[in-house]
C-alpha cells in the first residue's frame, strides 16, 4: 500500500506549514524543525523515496535508469493531460495559443520537487548579479537590486553546500565571487567528452572548471559516491548519490520527530483571517480526492513560482497590494550549440554536466562582453529521444528524406548521442512586468481549478546576448576537434526549466511582494521561500541560490534580527 503520511504521524498541531517539498521548501523545514518547531509539509505529488523517514536504513528510491519512465511517461513530472498550463506571448494572442496548451514548463511534482530531476548543478550567483537594478537601465525591463546582497547570502551558500554536499574546486572559476570555505568535496571523475571541449576552450583562452554539483564525488553525508550511471540530467537519483534537499534536509527534518510530511496532498486555497491580514487555514485536496483543512501559526509558500502565484490568485488575490503577484516571471534564456565529432565521445556516460565555463556571463554595460550566463558542457541524450531527434531532422529536410534504412543507420552510428557534445548558455532573462502568471479564464484541471496561464515573451536584452555568443560557441567546437557544429533552433516555449520571479522580494512594499526575509508585506504569517523571490535571474543555475535563500528565510523566521546566528557548522 502506498504511503502518503511520513515522519511523526501523531502530530496534529503545527508551528508552521510548508507548502512544497522542493529546493525552496525543504531548507525552511530543515531549519525550523532543527530549532524545535513542529512543521507540516504539504506536497501535491507522491513520495517515491521509500523509507525516507526510517532512521534504520537509507531511503530506497523508485527511480531508475529508465528513459521511458522518467522522460517520456512523466513519472515525476506533472501530467499535462489533466493538469495543463496555457501559454501566450502577449494579450494579442487572445486567451491562449491553443497549440501550446498542455506541457508548459512542467516541473516535477513529487516529494523533492524540481531539485530531483536536475543533475543538481549548484553554482552560486556572482555578487554583481544581485545589483543589476543599480547597474542597468534598460527600457522595458524591471531589473532591481536584490534586498539581500552576496555578503549576507554567502554564509547560507556555504551552509547549503555542506548540507547538500557540493563537489567543486574553489578558485577554478575565475569569475566566481569570494567564498568563505572550499567545497565540501573535490570534483569527481571527468568525462572524456568534456575534456575534449576543454582543449578547445583552452586554445581560445577560456577557462573551463569542474561544475559545482550536489553529486557525491566521494562518500559524503552517509550517502555513497556517484558511479556516473549516465542517467543524470532530468533523472532523479536511484543511489542517493545526488544530494537533493529531499534526501538531505527533508530526511533530516523527518528524523527529528518534529515533522510530518503529507504527500499527494494538494493545497487548493489559502483562507485569510477575518481581518485579511493573515492566513487562517489551508484548504487541501487529499490523496483520495476529498477535502481537507490545516492550520498553523506560520505558512511558507514554496510550490514553485508558477504554482505559488496561481495559489495566491486562486485564493482571491492575496498578498497583492503591490499588484506584482505573478509578474516578472523569468526563465533562463538558453543558447544551445551541438558539436558532432568523428569519433564516439560517449557523453551519455557520466554526470551529464561535469564541467563548464563562465567567460560568457559577461559584464554589465560592456558591449564586448554582454551579460549572458554560465555555459554547461554536456553529453547527448538517450536512445528514445535520439530517435525522435532524427525523425524531426529528416522530416524537416523535406519530403522524401525519411527512410527507415537511413534512420537505422543514424541510430547505429549515433551522431546525435554517442558522438555529440553540447554547450548550453544559461543566460540572464531580463525581468519584465508584462511576463506574468495569471489564471486561464476557462481551462481547468482535473479538480476543477483554473490552470495557470503564462504570458511571456523575450526582451532584446537576452536575445541579442545570445546572438553575440552563438558564433563563439561554434568556434570552440572547431578548436576542440569537432567535425560539425551548429546552434540548435529554439522551440516556441522556453527550453529552460529554471523558473524564477512572480513574487519578487524587495525593500519597498510598493515595488515588491515580500520583504527581504521572504515575508509578505500584506500578510503577517505568510512567507515565500523559493525562486519566486528572485528579483532577477542571474546567469547561473538557480538551485544553489534557492537553497541558500530558503535557508535564510527559515533562519529569519527563527531569529528575524540575526538569521546568520542560526547557521550550524
Amino acid at each position: 500500500m502506498r504511503r502518503t503520511v511520513f515522519g511523526n504521524t501523531s502530530l496534529s498541531q503545527f508551528d508552521a506549514i510548508v507548502i512544497g517539498s522542493g529546493a525552496g521548501g525543504n531548507p525552511v523545514t530543515y531549519v525550523l524543525t532543527a530549532n524545535g518547531m513542529k512543521v507540516l509539509v504539504l506536497e501535491a505529488g507522491p513520495c517515491h523515496l521509500d523509507y525516507l523517514d526510517d532512521p534504520t536504513q537509507a531511503p530506497v528510491p523508485r527511480f531508475s535508469n529508465d528513459e521511458l519512465k522518467i522522460e517520456h511517461r512523466n513519472f515525476i513530472e506533472m501530467h499535462s493531460e489533466v493538469e495543463p498550463r496555457t501559454w501566450r506571448n502577449s494579450p494579442a494572442d487572445g486567451d491562449r495559443i491553443d497549440s501550446l496548451t498542455g506541457n508548459v514548463q512542467n516541473l516535477p511534482k513529487t516529494v523533492g520537487g524540481g531539485g530531483l530531476h536536475a543533475d543538481l548543478k549548484m553554482p552560486r550567483f556572482q555578487s554583481t548579479d544581485l545589483q543589476l537594478g543599480t547597474l542597468l537601465d534598460i527600457p522595458g525591463t524591471t531589473f532591481a537590486d536584490w534586498p539581500v546582497q552576496y555578503d549576507e547570502l554567502e554564509p547560507f551558500y556555504a551552509w547549503g553546500e555542506r548540507l547538500c554536499g557540493v563537489q567543486g574546486r574553489a578558485g577554478a572559476d575565475p569569475f566566481a565571487s569570494a567564498r568563505s570555505s572550499d567545497y565540501p568535496m573535490p570534483p569527481g571523475n571527468p568525462m572524456y567528452g568534456s575534456m575534449l571541449v576543454g582543449t578547445g576552450l583552452s586554445a581560445l583562452g577560456y577557462t573551463m572548471f569542474p561544475y559545482p554539483t550536489a553529486v557525491n564525488s566521494v562518500p559524503y553525508g552517509g550517502r555513497p559516491a556517484c558511479v556516473d550511471c549516465g542517467f543524470c540530467s532530468g533523472y532523479p537519483c536511484p543511489t542517493n548519490a545526488k544530494g537533493s534537499t529531499a534526501i538531505t534536509m527533508l530526511r533530516s527534518a523527518l528524523l527529528t520527530n518534529n515533522c510530518q510530511l503529507r504527500a499527494e496532498t494538494r493545497v487548493a486555497k489559502l483562507v485569510p483571517s477575518a481581518t485579511g491580514t493573515a492566513i487562517a487555514s489551508v484548504q487541501t485536496i487529499e490523496p483520495d480526492g476529498s477535502q481537507g483543512s490545516y492550520t498553523a501559526d506560520r505558512i511558507v509558500l514554496a510550490a514553485s513560482p508558477i504554482e505559488d502565484a496561481r495559489l495566491l490568485l486562486l485564493s482571491g488575490g492575496l498578498g497583492n497590494s503591490s499588484g506584482l503577484v505573478g509578474r516578472n516571471l523569468m526563465f533562463h534564456y538558453q543558447t544551445i550549440c551541438l558539436g558532432i565529432f568523428d569519433d564516439r565521445v560517449h557523453g551519455y556516460r557520466g554526470r551529464t554536466v561535469d564541467h563548464g565555463f563562465a567567460d560568457f556571463r559577461g559584464v554589465p554595460n560592456d558591449s564586448n562582453h554582454p551579460l549572458a550566463g554560465i555555459v554547461e558542457i554536456s553529453g547527448g541524450g538517450l536512445p528514445i529521444g535520439e530517435a525522435a531527434f532524427y525523425k524531426r531532422i529528416l522530416d524537416q529536410l523535406g519530403a522524401g528524406r525519411w527512410n527507415g534504412a537511413l534512420f537505422k543507420k543514424l541510430m547505429r552510428q549515433s551522431p546525435g548521442r554517442d558522438r555529440v557534445m553540447v554547450m548550453v548558455i544559461q543566460a540572464e532573462d531580463a525581468p519584465q512586468a508584462t511576463n506574468i502568471v495569471d489564471l486561464d479564464p476557462s481551462i481547468t484541471d482535473l479538480d476543477g481549478l483554473p490552470v495557470p496561464r503564462i504570458t511571456y515573451q523575450n526582451h532584446t536584452f537576452e536575445v541579442s546576448a545570445g546572438q553575440f555568443y552563438e558564433p563563439k560557441l561554434i568556434q570552440i567546437f572547431g578548436a576542440a576537434g569537432a567535425r560539425y557544429a551548429a546552434i540548435a533552433p529554439r522551440d516556441p516555449l522556453p527550453g529552460s526549466q529554471h523558473v524564477m520571479g512572480t513574487l519578487r522580494s524587495g525593500v519597498d512594499s510598493s515595488t515588491s511582494v515580500t520583504d527581504p526575509n521572504g515575508k509578505f508585506w500584506d500578510l503577517g504569517n505568510l512567507w515565500a521561500s523559493d525562486g519566486a523571490l528572485f528579483p532577477t535571474s542571474s546567469g547561473y543555475n538557480p538551485t544553489m541560490t534557492i537553497v541558500a535563500l530558503a535557508l535564510r528565510v527559515g533562519a529569519a523566521i527563527v531569529n528575524p534580527t540575526s538569521p546568520e546566528s542560526v547557521i550550524t557548522s
Partner: protein, 221 residues
C-alpha cells in the same frame, strides 16, 4: 505473416487487435526500423510493447511505470524493474485517459490505413495521417529502446544494435575505490572507446552536413 510475429510478451496479439491489424502493425514497424543483418521494429517487440501499453490496466498495479532502483542487468541480484509501481490519483487519471486515447488512435488509424488500399508497407507508411504516423513511430522506437520490462527490446537486442549499454546501475561507469576511480574496460568514461563498432558513413555525414547548413552552422576540415 502472423507466423513471423515474435514470441515475446504473453498472448501478444490476442486481445486488442485483429489479425489483419496485427499484420499491418507488424509491417509498419518494419518500415520504421527495417530488418537487415539486425532485427527490425517488429522483431524488436513493437507489438508486445503496444499490447502491454493499451492493456496496462489489466494489471494491478497497471504496467505504466517499471519499478526501481535497479534491474538485474548491471550488478544487482533482483530485477526491481519488474515490480510495477502503484499510481497516485492524478497519475492514474492521466494514464487512464492516455491509454484509452492511444488505443482509440491505433484502432482508428489502422482502419483508416486499411481503407487506403495500399499493399506496399513503405508506401502505406508514407501515406498515413501525420498524427498516426507520429504515434506509430513513437511506439515502435520506444519498444525497441526502452527497458525490456515494458514488453519490447527482447534480449536487449535493441540496445545491442545501437551499441548502447542500457541501464547501468548499480555498477555505473566509474566507481570510487578510496583513492581514485575504477572504470569499465568495455565502456570507459574518461577515455576514448577502445574501438568504434560503426564509424560514420558518407550518407550519414551527408545528413549531418545538410542539417548543419540549414542551421547556419559549420563543417570543419
Amino acid at each position: 505473416m502472423l507466423a513471423k510475429l515474435p514470441a515475446c510478451g504473453d498472448n501478444a496479439g490476442d486481445r486488442v487487435f485483429t489479425s489483419a491489424e496485427l499484420t499491418m502493425l507488424y509491417d509498419l514497424a518494419n518500415v520504421i526500423i527495417p530488418p537487415d543483418d539486425t532485427p527490425g521494429g517488429a522483431e524488436l517487440g513493437a507489438i508486445a510493447f503496444i499490447e502491454a501499453l493499451v492493456t496496462a490496466y489489466d494489471h494491478d498495479p497497471p504496467m505504466i511505470y517499471a519499478g526501481g532502483p535497479f534491474s538485474d542487468r548491471a550488478g544487482a541480484s533482483d530485477d526491481g524493474f519488474a515490480n510495477f509501481i502503484e499510481l497516485d490519483r492524478v497519475s492514474d487519471a492521466a494514464w487512464r485517459l492516455d491509454t484509452a486515447s492511444i488505443k482509440q488512435q491505433l484502432v482508428a488509424g489502422l482502419a483508416a490505413a486499411r481503407a487506403l488500399g495500399i499493399s506496399d508497407p513503405a508506401k502505406l507508411y508514407d501515406a498515413l495521417d501525420a498524427d498516426f504516423q507520429a504515434l506509430l513511430f513513437e511506439l515502435v522506437t520506444e519498444a525497441a529502446w526502452a527497458a525490456p520490462e515494458y514488453g519490447g527490446n527482447p534480449n536487449l537486442a535493441g540496445w545491442a544494435m545501437i551499441h548502447f549499454e542500457g541501464d547501468s546501475l548499480p555498477m555505473g561507469y566509474s566507481q570510487w575505490n578510496g583513492s581514485g576511480y575504477d572504470e569499465r574496460g568495455d565502456a570507459p568514461m574518461s577515455t576514448p572507446n577502445p574501438s568504434d563498432p560503426e564509424p560514420l558513413t558518407d550518407d550519414v555525414r551527408q545528413v549531418i552536413m545538410e542539417v548543419v547548413a540549414v542551421l547556419g552552422g559549420q563543417t570543419f576540415p
